[in-house]
């Protein structure tokens, strides 16, 4: 396990050491707590719970697995779950309340991009190591020097650029594009990223409809009519949770899936629960599918998947894997921080220092944290196809795009960087079907 300290980390440890000395050295030789407390933030109610609950279930299982194997440094992990459905104000308030307990040393927060953006300054102010387990807006680290916020699961730029690349590989003649995304930062960012990437690869692309229905909409019937009327070659969507389920259930009988090439960026989350037709481009916003060749070859992933299925009666979805990966990231960092402190229990600052610059072995691949605390994560994209053995659709014709190929260089404007891509860039990427 590689663990790189940079100047920021050393400076922080220096500050922490000075503060500790000023307090009589009490913080330098901390005793292990009875419990390692963490806050876990996800949606456990409302329409977003369809996405958030698999994440929470993943946390429950992974924490049980960690505790069954002796906890972290011999200390059991205890999670307090916070429902993000209460809105940013409530989420911040809960975060502060949990942080007031000195035994709470890490926050796994959050699912929603808007909550991550709201919590990042609080994390900096309190000095609380915070792992953004799911939120992936590229704006989180844009022009910010965050020292306590870490994102081992990647960001929106590679996630959505991957779908544009995949579409141009499997449907190179697609020119009329429609977009239907949720009406908040995540949806609008994805729309911008897909348009910028497609325009760079194929400059004659035409966006024939661009719709942003409210998050939590129960009906998309008018949007479906509008999309039908626009006759697009391909429809991109990053709807998620109950919105995605409603959209698929309403669009499928109305022939939208037959009329256009459908791209459901978060489609893996409904493969088991819905009957998707074959040939829909689906993905996992990263590499977190339980059934990739990489995941199948990892003994721990197989064990986690089977245990999840046994406990919850369904296969994990990628939010589950992202949550499990975030907890593994935390476990590995804290264990390294204990080792770095010669067995003494680490402080929040020491844990944050151990998180910086990690090369992290997750359940589904390897992620490398950059200097800005954002990770380079591979992107797995595929197409839905019925699997008779499992009894539901799975991803086939898969490709695993290397994270670094889709990530803008540090300090570069992400959208401007996407504009520099070209058809030649596409040629440098692995091809659909190359990862089976």
């Amino acid at each position: 396990m590689q663990n790189t300290f940079n100047r920021r980390a050393l400076a922080r440890i220096g500050l922490a050491a000075t503060a500790a000395l000023a307090m009589g050295g009490a913080a330098l030789a901390q005793e292990a707590p009875a419990e390692f407390n963490i806050g876990v933030f996800t949606f456990s109610s409302g329409p977003a719970a369809a996405y958030g609950m698999p994440g929470r279930q993943g946390a429950e299982l992974m924490i049980d697995m960690i505790n069954e194997s002796g906890g972290i440094g011999g200390v059991p992990v205890r999670a307090t779950y916070v429902d993000e459905a209460q809105g940013a104000e409530g989420v911040i308030s809960e975060y502060r309340r949990l942080a007031n307990n000195p035994d709470t040393q890490v926050m796994i927060a959050a699912l929603s991009s808007s909550n991550c953006l709201a919590l990042a300054p609080v994390a900096e102010q309190i000095g609380m190591p915070t792992i953004s387990w799911n939120c992936d807006t590229h704006q989180l680290f844009l022009n910010e020097d965050l020292q306590y916020t870490f994102r081992p699961n990647g960001n929106t730029i590679p996630e959505f650029a991957a779908f544009a690349a995949y579409l141009m590989e499997v449907k190179p003649d697609a020119r009329r594009i429609a977009i239907i995304n949720p009406d908040y930062a995540f949806g609008h960012d994805a729309g911008e990223i897909v348009k910028a990437t497609l325009s760079a690869i194929a400059p004659d692309i035409e966006v024939v409809a661009e719709l942003y229905p409210s998050l939590g909409s129960s009906t998309f019937q008018t949007e479906i009519s509008r999309l039908s009327a626009a006759r697009p070659d391909a429809i991109f969507s990053n709807l998620w949770g109950a919105d995605l389920e409603n959209f698929v259930r309403q669009a499928q009988p109305r022939g939208l899936f037959n009329q256009s090439q459908m791209i459901l960026a978060l489609g893996e989350t409904v493969l088991e629960s819905l009957s998707l037709p074959d040939g829909v481009i689906v993905g996992v916003l990263g590499d977190g599918w339980w059934n990739t060749p990489t995941a199948r070859a990892n003994e721990m992933t197989v064990e986690f998947t089977e245990a999840y299925r046994e406990r919850f009666g369904e296969y994990p979805v990628f939010p589950t894997m992202k949550m499990a990966n975030a907890l593994l990231f935390m476990q590995q960092a804290v264990e390294d921080a204990i080792a770095d402190a010669d067995g003494a229990w680490p402080s929040r600052d020491e844990i944050a220092a151990a998180m910086e610059g990690r090369t992290f072995e997750s359940l589904t691949g390897t992620a490398v944290l950059r200097e800005d605390n954002d990770a380079l994560v591979d992107q797995v994209v595929g197409m839905s196809a019925q699997d008779d053995e499992l009894g539901f659709s799975v991803m086939t014709n898969m490709v695993r795009y290397p994270g670094e190929a889709l990530m803008p260089p540090l300090g570069e404007d992400p959208i401007a960087w996407l504009g520099t891509l070209s058809a030649e860039w596409l040629e440098t990427l692995p091809k659909p079907g190359s990862y089976e």
Binding site: P213, T219, R249
Partner: protein, 299 residues
């Protein structure tokens, strides 16, 4: 030209139909009880939950899937029969004659209680029961495929409007309701049991909301939050029509439905605010709504 207009009209009417069921119940309750019931949207979502559960049970039991159509109606009736009189007698009647602030606080409290009860009983995951939609198939209109179930909803909304009109104008209870709306004190002096009329009108409002929810289930998942989303739109419709206007609610529902559709087709950025922009314009010009007046005690 006609080819382009037809989808707008069909989508607009289909949109309007679902909003109408909730809005007309809201406005009916207001006209009789003089209460703006903030919890009205909860009856919509409870109707949806009960209908979805009943539909899933029917299919799971291997019964004839066509029974899922009467089950929608039965669900709404069940919700109305169980919850209408109970809530009106135990909670709502305490607010009669009190200030609007008290009424809104009480019904908002009820809304929060009912929302949490739904979470406890039905969980937080979406429930889907789309058998009626699948049974009816699809039709192509103006080059766009529509669910026949959407077209059925438009017809049902028209039927409910006509039925309500006939009930109020041509039945004994309808006339009693009209009398109470016109003048409660005189009605009581004439021997009309206004307590009973209030309970009946409230229950009818619950039934209409629950019916809207039940009829929505075949095309949409039922999840927590559904009631709040619908309620806000219903308020907009009721405000545009003028509170207390049954036919006005139908016209306003069509206006709101069309406004949303036009926004989605031509100015998607205004999709979410279109109904409220219409409401704003209407209220600026007609402060009591399109069909309302300073004396709104009529239905």
């Amino acid at each position: 030209m006609l080819y382009a207009i037809i989808p707008l009209v069909v989508d607009g009417l289909a949109n309007a139909a679902l909003i109408f069921f909730v809005a007309v119940g809201l406005t009916l309750v207001f006209s009789v009880l003089r209460i703006l019931n903030v919890a009205h949207g909860s009856f919509y979502s409870i109707g949806a939950y009960v209908a979805a559960s009943m539909g899933l049970w029917l299919i799971g039991s291997g019964l004839n899937p066509w029974l899922s159509f009467p089950a929608l109606l039965l669900s709404a009736a069940l919700v109305a029969a169980l919850m209408g009189p109970l809530i009106e007698r135990t909670l709502v009647h305490w607010t009669y004659g009190r200030g609007e602030a008290v009424q809104i606080l009480v019904t908002f409290g009820l809304f929060l209680i009912l929302e949490d009860l739904q979470r406890i009983v039905f969980g937080v995951r979406s429930i889907y029961a789309d058998t009626p939609m699948a049974l009816l198939g699809v039709s192509e209109i103006g080059g766009i495929i529509y669910l026949n179930y959407q077209l059925l909803l438009i017809g049902l909304a028209v039927l409910v409007l006509i039925g309500l009109r006939m009930f109020i104008r041509h039945t004994r209870y309808g006339k009693l309701i009209s009398a109470v709306v016109e003048d409660r004190e005189v009605s009581e002096a004439l021997g009309i049991n206004t307590r009973r009329i209030f309970m009946m009108a409230f229950t009818l409002g619950v039934f209409l909301a629950a019916l809207g929810g039940a009829l929505a289930t075949p095309t949409t998942g039922v999840a927590p939050g559904l009631g709040a989303e619908t309620m806000v739109l219903a308020f907009a419709v009721a405000a545009i029509a003028g509170l207390g206007q049954v036919e006005g609610a139908a016209v306003a529902a069509v206006i709101v439905g069309l406004a949303r559709v036009l926004a989605i087709y031509y100015v998607p950025a205004l999709d979410a605010v279109a109904p409220y922009l219409v409401m704003l314009v209407v209220l600026l010009i007609w402060p009591f709504g399109l069909f309302g007046s300073t004396q709104t005690r009529r239905i």
